[in-house]
């Protein structure tokens, strides 16, 4: 998650949710996000809420973190219950970071077990952790599988050493096929995360990274354009002219190449930046974000959403641990969305999905734009004819522009 929290209303110290959170909850899936705010090294492009081991102490330290996270899990179950939100089993769980696998696998397993103790878990639930290729072993993977993890997402980013260097990634490319094989052997589905558009990355470099990743036959690939956030080391280097700036045309070329090669390899897009080998292997936790399902975010700076109430935790791990140790909610702020805002979000989020957006969600003015979008080659005509707005390849690259056009009022 980004380092800057949005502005919203203050959240109450007991964490209780407004009444609307409970409305229709039984019909929505419920997921859990667990943020692990630690990394071995801070990458130059990263503005996420993460810390290196030596930066923190007390309840925020790496050793104590699992216990602190579990205390929020317990609090979360109480808050939902006291807010009148009906109990639901976990549908998806996602450990992200930071580098979750910097914690001992036993710690991740403990947090997962504590969560299942609170809510239970659906049969066939998806449980993912992100991982750095450097920080897993066959043994740690076995522990995760044993605890109930079903899926692992490796931060491969690139197969090209000079690109990894600009990104400050520490792993050697040859380690990736090794850890993919271990994960397979442990019985985990495998996703690979790639980043394109890194300064100095040629189109040939990117093609090589894609071909290399695809040669490992992952079940799922995420390919994200590099975003240079203010305040990162990379932004400073760019400002000083030490590395070249971002070129949107280069990003567009690389996205098109990614879609071409990944699709050729037999995977299909289901969200602008995500491809899966089969629809079942799409990341359901990720889809929950785009579909407006409910999830609770555990950890400093984590975001949550329940029934149109969005909130976010205090950012610093020490402040986070401190709140919880006093029995207070770690929520820093929240917003309660009205129906117009929820509709706007729905359009904004669902337009990114291959399953598309129901055209009937749009206002009359918005619907009026659809013909023009088809004419401009941004929207699939056949799907639109059946009442769904689905982006073409060109439309995916211009998704934000499309959303602005279909939200004219």
């Amino acid at each position: 998650m980004p380092s800057v929290l949005p502005l919203g209303d203050p959240a109450p110290s007991d964490g209780l949710l407004p009444a609307q959170a409970a409305d229709g909850a039984a019909a929505r899936a419920f997921g859990l996000y667990v943020h692990i705010p630690f990394c071995a090294v801070r990458c130059g492009y990263c503005d996420f809420n993460t810390y290196t081991a030596t930066e923190l102490g007390g309840g925020a330290s790496q050793d104590a973190y699992a216990g602190t996270a579990v205390s929020e899990v317990v609090l979360a179950a109480q808050v939902l219950q006291r807010s009148g939100v009906p109990a639901r089993k976990l549908s998806t769980v996602f450990f992200g970071g930071g580098t979750p696998t910097l914690l001992p696998a036993a710690d991740l397993a403990m947090i997962l077990r504590a969560s299942i103790d609170q809510w239970g878990i659906e049969a066939g639930a998806e449980v993912t952790t992100e991982a750095n290729p450097d920080s897993v072993t066959p043994e740690s993977l076995a522990i995760l599988k044993e605890a109930g993890f079903t899926r692992i997402s490796f931060g491969m980013q690139s197969a090209v050493p000079h690109v990894l260097k600009v990104l400050d990634r520490t792993h050697t490319p040859s380690r990736v096929p090794q850890v993919v094989q271990w994960a397979r052997e442990a019985g985990l589905a495998v996703s690979l995360d790639l980043i394109y558009g890194t300064p100095g990355e040629s189109l040939a470099d990117w093609r090589y990274s894609l071909e290399t990743a695809l040669s490992y036959e992952p079940d799922h690939i995420s390919a994200y354009a590099l975003i240079v956030e203010d305040g990162t080391k990379l932004a400073a280097q760019m400002r000083r002219g030490e590395v070249p700036g971002i070129d949107d045309d280069d990003h567009a070329d690389k996205y098109e190449l990614a879609d071409e090669l990944i699709t050729e390899a037999g995977l299909g897009w289901y969200e602008v930046s995500n491809w899966a080998r089969t629809p079942e292997q799409a990341c359901r936790h990720n889809l929950a974000y785009w579909r407006g399902d409910d999830w609770w975010g555990i950890g400093p700076g984590a975001h949550s959403h329940v029934g149109g109430v969005r909130w976010w935790n205090v950012k610093h791990p020490a402040a986070y641990a401190n709140r919880l140790s006093q029995g207070h909610s770690p929520a820093a702020g929240r917003e309660t969305l009205d129906s117009d805002t929820r509709r706007l979000e729905r359009v904004m989020l669902e337009a990114r999905l291959q399953s598309g957006l129901e055209v009937s969600t749009l206002s009359a003015l918005g619907r009026h734009e659809v013909a023009g979008l088809i004419a401009d080659g941004l929207v699939e005509p056949a799907a639109a004819f059946h009442g769904r707005l689905v982006l073409t390849l060109k439309g995916r690259l211009l998704a934000d522009a499309v959303v602005r056009r279909i939200l004219p009022d």
């Binding site: 980004p2 943020h35 994200y224 045309d249 990003h251 602008v272 974000y289 969005r310 706007l344 602005r404």
Partner: protein
């Protein structure tokens, strides 16, 4: 040293022999206000201990209420050799744009203090006003101010002044408005050296208007200098240019508060209030006479203010058009030189074409509209007035490139100016280079002192209205100063350059330029727009054309990527806020055909970097 006057001469009963009317000619920061304040204090019009506590504070309140803060003319008593004199200090605007107003202020005086900063020497506009004063046969008292400054070079600049007006450097007074040194000697010198006003007390009344100011509470306050006869309260007066008559509700003098009097006689300076609401009914330069006993001829020198520079003013937000219209109406009450008419631009919507005396007048007006009426404005590139003669002999006056006729043009005439530039002699080469590039013809050059020169050029007005002064300043490291006055017109090889976005002409970017500069303008403007207009979902050609002939082209490639790759671990709020911000941004776009052009592009394309700096300085 003279003591403060024990008794002040009474208005309406003052012998012209004891009246002295003078103004101060000075450059903007050469210390005129400080010296004026010091004179008010020395003459006892304002008490020393009240100077700040009362006088200046009162001005702040006035400023808050939006009423007049300037004292256009102040009457001060001063005693020399046991005789009490009435000194009238008449304010003069300090800028070239207001030369006509300056000339009327000078015409109300018998003498002028030429005030020059002892650390900087004379500036071009001061020199121009000095020449104007000399043409009006005013007696000049040269004064160096700020002699307390460490950087002062009184010997050098005294020699320069003596050289200019003829005389001995020893005769140049040295004062410090800040410390008060030399101020009493200056007051004595005013009494001794300046001639008393002359006039016929028995003739029909004639008074010249030298300033006219709108006051929210009192209506128009008119400042006059009586030449012949006498004006009395409650009588009916007549404006000789319009024949309009008004009742004189109040007449008096400022010292410095307005003080009603029983009238104003020969040589006296004061104010009139008639209850009119618009300064156009009481114009600078006009002659006031008595309706019952009118004068046969008006005083010489009256002229209507003629706008020289035209610019379109458009509200950034189209909904503010009525606010702009009301604001212009209000400004007009206090600015007889301001003229405007409604105008529509395909690109900018509804606005006004406004005529100004010069660029400063434009900037002041725009700044007042923005600050006092809280408007965000786009002003189009300033234009001069061209006279276009078609082959069928039809003549068209063009103040806006969009009015340029499409038929066969036989001749285009453009207004000319004669410009005077003062600068240290090391910059002569750079100045000549600049003036030649601006189609100037050298008129002459003189040395003011051994290292300062006066250079005279005849230039097309169009060449100096945009960025000339800023470039002059930068080429002379800030030392160059400029003055100009209208100097007829000339036929020139001028063409209209159109700018087209996707084949659609954008009137706001059109320009009338010399044929030799059309290509450079086309390349500059198309290049600038390519940088300023964001990429669209389709390719946008930008062309510059003279008639149907394309002289420059650029193209904005279609945007291919406009999507945020990820959602930041569930931070949907951030993504939504970004979308809302983008939607807001879209609202501020002007549609030119199907091309979205941000307002900033209009502003940036019509502004040079130098003129932005200038706006800051002012």
């Amino acid at each position: 040293m003279s003591p403060m006057a024990r008794t002040a001469p009474v208005p309406a009963a003052t012998d012209p022999a004891i009246i002295r009317n003078f103004c101060i000619i000075a450059h903007i920061d050469h210390g005129k206000s400080t010296l004026a304040d010091r004179m008010l204090q020395s003459t006892g019009v304002v008490q020393a201990r009240d100077m700040k506590a009362q006088y200046l504070d009162r001005m702040d309140i006035e400023r808050e209420r939006g009423i007049t803060i300037k004292s256009q003319a102040v009457r001060m008593p001063w005693e020399v050799d046991g005789v009490s004199y009435a000194l009238n200090m008449i304010d003069t605007p300090g800028h070239v744009d207001f030369t006509y107003e300056v000339s009327r202020s000078l015409a109300a005086c018998e003498g002028a203090i030429l005030l020059v900063d002892a650390a900087q020497g004379i500036e071009a506009q001061t020199l121009a006003n000095l020449y104007l004063a000399m043409e009006n046969n005013l007696t000049i008292i040269p004064v160096l101010n700020k002699i307390d400054l460490p950087a002062a070079q009184p010997e050098k600049y005294a020699a320069e002044l003596a050289n200019l007006i003829g005389g001995d450097p020893e005769d140049v007074l040295r004062v410090s408005g800040k410390t008060g040194a030399g101020v009493e000697a200056l007051l004595d010198k005013i009494v001794r050296d300046l001639p008393a006003p002359k006039g016929d007390p028995d003739a029909p009344a004639r008074a010249m208007i030298f300033d006219s100011v709108y006051d929210t509470y009192r209506g128009v306050v008119t400042y006059v200098r009586v030449v012949d006869g006498m004006l009395h309260p409650r009588e009916r007066i007549q404006m000789m240019s319009t024949r309009a008559s008004h009742e004189l509700l109040e007449i008096g003098v400022s010292s410095p508060e307005p003080t009603p009097s029983k009238g104003l006689g020969v040589g006296e300076v004061g104010y009139l209030i008639t209850g009119v609401k618009d300064v156009r009914q009481s114009k600078v330069g006009d002659t006031v006479t008595n309706l019952a006993k009118p004068a046969a001829t008006s005083l010489p020198g009256y002229a209507d203010a003629k706008p020289m520079v035209f610019s379109g003013l458009y509200p950034l937000d189209g909904a503010d058009y009525p606010v702009l219209r009301d604001a212009l109406e209000k400004l007009m009450l206090n600015d007889a030189a301001l003229v405007y008419e409604p105008e529509t631009s395909a690109a900018l919507g509804f606005g006004f074409r406004v005529g100004f005396l010069g660029l400063l007048h434009l900037e002041i007006t725009r700044e007042r509209l923005e600050r006092e009426y809280n408007l965000a404005l786009i002003s189009t590139a300033p234009n001069v007035e061209y006279e276009v003669t078609l082959e069928d002999k039809k003549v068209v006056q063009v103040t806006n490139p969009s009015e340029y006729p499409t038929g066969k043009v036989a001749e285009v005439r453009e207004p000319m100016v004669s410009a005077t530039i003062l600068a240290p002699n090391e910059f002569v080469g750079a100045i000549m280079e600049l003036c030649q590039a601006r189609r100037g013809v050298l008129g002459g050059m003189d040395y003011l002192s051994e290292d300062r020169v006066e250079i005279r050029y005849r230039l097309p007005l169009a060449e100096i209205v945009f960025d000339f002064f800023d470039i002059l300043k930068s080429k002379t490291r800030g030392y160059g100063s400029l003055d100009w006055k209208a100097d007829g017109e000339q036929a020139a090889d001028l063409v209209k350059v159109d700018i087209m976005l996707q084949g659609e002409q954008v009137d706001a970017f059109s320009a009338i330029t010399h044929k030799d500069k059309a290509y450079a303008y086309g390349v500059m403007m198309t290049g600038k727009l390519r940088e300023l207009i964001p990429r669209q979902q389709f390719e946008v050609p930008i062309q510059a054309a003279i008639g149907s002939r394309i002289i420059a082209r650029e193209s904005i490639r279609a945007i291919r990527k406009d999507v945020l790759a990820k959602c930041y671990g569930g931070d949907i709020s951030r993504k939504r806020k970004l979308l809302e911000k983008q939607k807001e941004g879209k609202k501020r776009m002007k549609m030119v055909g199907t091309v979205e052009v941000p307002q900033e592009a209009f502003i940036a394309a019509l502004t040079t970097d130098e003129s932005k700096d200038k706006a800051k300085k002012k």
